[in-house]
Amino acid sequence: MPAAPSASPGTSSSAFWFGMRTAATSVFAFVIVFTYIGYGALAHDYGLSVGWAALSTALQWAGPAQVILVTGLGAGTSLVELAVAVSLSSVRLLPIVVALLPLVKREDSRPWQLVIPAHFMAVSVWVEAMRHAPGLPREQRIPFCNGVGLALMLMGTVATAAGYYLQSVLPAIFGAAAMFITPISFLTSTARNARLLLEKAALALGLAIGPVLAFSRVEFDLLWTGIIGGTLAYGVHRLWRKRSAAP
């Protein structure tokens, strides 16, 4: 585990390197490599090329969406249906980018300067950014995020190619284990980051509401899980704040 950034680096290039080092020592270095070895092997199973598989990691940078695309193409799902499924599985990217930006942007940040860190944004990068950025001077936060994002993305892309060529030697259980690392790492890392009651409540509510909506075949179940769980958690936070402010 990286120590809290007490000795903060001075320039934006040192903030970028600090981001890369943070990524290298993060639990997500292990998670991303494991996940994308599994993904590379899956792409091989479904007859895609190694170049396609590696590029899909750099471009999509969203594990569940990538698995949906590859398996959907293999099953011959219609492309429109597939685009909708890919998009719905990636809805989480919207609130994580919205929640991160006010923390890292500067007064003079242009939209194109924010599109690059936004492209790197995934739950892994978000968790590390939300954890370390508040301890850095504001002008170093975007380079820091870019460092974390680029390092993890490079690891993911190389691991995809490695998994592609390792496909024949990987044990049968590897694919299942690689897919399971996404939920277990999302759960433990967001729980670790949840300091506010708001975040703890949102985590618990999302875990409770998610399966109910998914099993009742509600359309856009993930989106509704976020909105309902997040709004209830915000309500809990308001109530708690009001109560603790009362004499």
Partner: protein, 112 residues
């Protein structure tokens, strides 16, 4: 669908754009918000609940190879992983290792 121009076009149109559009929308909506605003607290709640929803969905309705592992094993693995996280110095890495160990042991016991 092996390689060639068509496969890359599909990657851009069906893979990249449908995911990336959320990031662009996030930039458009997040740019003007203040770090201390009330709405950003709400968004943080939504983001956290959504990530939890992704966790629940993959465990309950898993994709691909994970579906071959029995539901009871998947639930036991996620619960033990979380317990491992809580008991071992709140380390995310410890939680991941415990969860994976239980998943692999359970799946092997059920000879997946």
């Amino acid at each position: 669908m092996t390689s060639g121009f068509e496969a890359y076009l599909v990657l851009i149109l069906v893979g990249f754009l449908p995911s990336e559009v959320w990031r662009w929308l996030g930039v458009a909506l997040g740019r003007g918000l203040d770090e201390q605003s009330e709405i950003i607290l709400w968004v943080r709640g939504v983001a956290t609940a959504l990530v939890a929803g992704v966790v629940a969905r993959i465990v309950m309705i898993p994709p691909g190879a994970l579906a071959a592992v029995p539901l009871s094993v998947r639930i036991a693995a996620i619960a033990c992983g979380f317990l491992g996280f809580l008991l071992i110095r709140r380390s995310a890495f410890a939680g991941v290792l415990v969860g994976e160990a239980v998943l692999i042991a359970g799946a092997t016991a059920f000879s997946v």
